[in-house]
Amino acid sequence: MAEPLVRMRNVHKSFGPVQALAGVDFAVHEKEIVGLLGDNGAGKSTLIKILSGVVPATSGEIFVRGEKVSIRNTNDAIRFGIETIHQDSALVPQLSIARNLFLGREPLKGPAFLNRMDKDAMNRIAGELLVEVGITKKLAPDTPVSLLSGGERQAVSIARALFFDSDLIILDEPTNNLGVEETHGVLRFVRNARDSGHSSIFIAHNIHHVFQVVDRIVVLRNGEVVADDIDPASSTIDEVERIITGALAV
């Protein structure tokens, strides 16, 4: 099999006396959606914080396309193509969709000292991206994000990850607090992203949502991977729930 897109090997993380991760091996392949499941305190959020550069691992190795890397901060993670989308903290509500999409990487035009944003290009690309990500409703790119629904905000975040060519998009509870329609929308955005060549890690409390979208399920319990190759097509939600709680050994 080809080298995985991202691989973690024997990763440990301790917070003082508390061991959050106890030797985790975890991989995401190209064009794959991995569902990461586990009870509260199982180590899910620690794992993604390490991948997105929010906290460093205590020990262990991380490889991106076979090359060993060290992720010390969020900018490192973005440079290695890893984009994390949090439920609430990803966008600036007062800014428009286009301004959010390009925040931190605004295209400029004219002489450099004028520091002038290329608003035309920003609005045009934003409009195209919204269509690409699967937003069917007509949304002007200069609409402030504060006017968008939760699902539309997720779409903007995903569109941003697509545009800046993140190879791995980490979705942390993307369907929280969303209605049925909106949830379906977000699941569609994630599938569209995979079909255009991007991988995702999908974290959600709602196992039904995970089952609908992922290619493979990984389960964490007490800081260890207890199952890492569950095929949602050949397993039941009930089985996976029992693995999560430890009622069923793998």
Binding site: T74, N75, I78, T84, S89, A90, L91, V92, P93, Q94, L95, R99, F102, L103, G104, R105, E106, L108, L114, N115, R116, M117, K119, P144, S146, L147
Partner: protein
């Protein structure tokens, strides 16, 4: 559903609409009660002292948009000219050099404010409160409380900063031109420049901004420096205009300036700022001070009018925001 009337839509989507209406109403009221209010002499007089607070308000607008504010501007307004004129009067350096030193000290004050807020994570209220008292204390101590004389100076620079000329019979002050210049620069920065996007993002959601690689701390620090610089420049302008550098001048300006900015439609919590709104807010309060005297209300009543204006504006803005999510933060 009924279509929204254009006026309501304009009120809902343009934060500057409400202050603009109030400015027009204010002009109408004062003009109808005092025949002199719109006389060339009074307008010229009004435009002589408006730019000074206006310059501070421009810097404060950008700073508040980034999620911070500065209480030390009034003290810097008083201290910078004291430094400049003391150095000149004591014969230490020529006037131009003294001005550069005074502005450099203001930049340093802004830098210290910025570093305390961004590095030590002390709230800007406390940092700039401390700086306000420190700087005012320095101004009083270095002058022993006495105003510094300015009338011995002869310099082209003084004319460029605070001189005046006549267009027909209408007296125009140079400070007005500087104020217009600063306004255009900041208007451009907040609307069109990349740094403007960073300023709004820093105030709107600093966590998200940082995650996108926006240098939030550097942005805020530069805005503290800009605000202090403009306060010092305004203070120097004022000292030339009134021919005295009083160590007590600018006392209380910080709150009046913040009031101007907020009345104009800038969100005190950050993330959304409007330079045009601030110019309207500055005009509103400066015309109020001038107008109530013109119509015969005792000047001591000025604060009542300002206070009530702030309360009315906030109530109207809150009403509009609650009815329309487009204005909500």
């Amino acid at each position: 559903m009924r279509a929204t009337p254009p006026l309501v839509r304009w009120l809902n989507t343009t934060p500057e609409s409400l202050p603009l209406i109030l400015v027009v109403v204010e002009i109408a009221v004062f003009a109808s009660l005092s025949s002199n209010f719109l006389s060339p002499g009074n307008i010229s007089n009004l435009l002589a002292f408006t730019p000074e607070m206006g310059m501070i308000a421009l810097g404060m607008t950008a700073l508040i948009t980034s999620g911070e504010f500065d209480l030390s501007v009034g003290s810097v307004f008083g201290f910078a000219p004291v430094v400049m004129w003391t150095l000149f009067n004591e014969g230490v350096v020529p006037l131009e050099v003294a001005m550069v030193i005074a502005l450099a000290i203001a930049v340093l004050i802004g830098l210290i404010n910025g570093l305390f807020v961004t590095r030590l994570r002390v709230p800007s209220f406390l940092v700039t409160l401390g700086m306000m008292m420190t700087v005012r204390g320095l101004a009083l101590y270095t002058t022993s409380g006495f105003p510094q004389r300015t009338w011995r100076a002869e310099s082209l620079m003084m004319d460029v900063i605070a001189g005046s000329f006549y267009i027909g019979t209408f007296r125009v002050y140079a400070s007005l031109l500087w104020f217009i210049g600063f306004t255009l620069v900041l208007l451009y920065v907040l609307r069109y420049a990349k740094i403007g996007n960073w300023i709004q993002a820093a105030g709107g959601n600093p966590i998200a901004a940082r995650a996108r690689g926006v240098r939030v701390d550097a942005t805020k620090t530069w805005l503290f420096i800009l605000t202090a610089f403009l306060a010092a420049y305004a203070g120097i302008t004022s000292s030339i205009r009134v021919s005295a550098a009083n160590p007590n001048s600018g006392t209380g300006y910080e709150l009046e300036v913040i009031a101007m900015v907020v009345i104009g439609g800038t969100a005190l919590a950050g993330g959304r700022g409007t330079i045009i709104g601030t110019v309207l807010g500055v005009l509103m309060l400066r015309m109020m001070r001038n107008g109530i005297v013109m119509i015969g209300v005792p000047g001591l009543a000025y604060n009542i009018f300002v206070g009530v204006t702030i309360l009315i504006m906030m109530a109207l803005q809150s009403y509009i925001e609650r009815r329309n999510p487009a204005r909500a933060r």
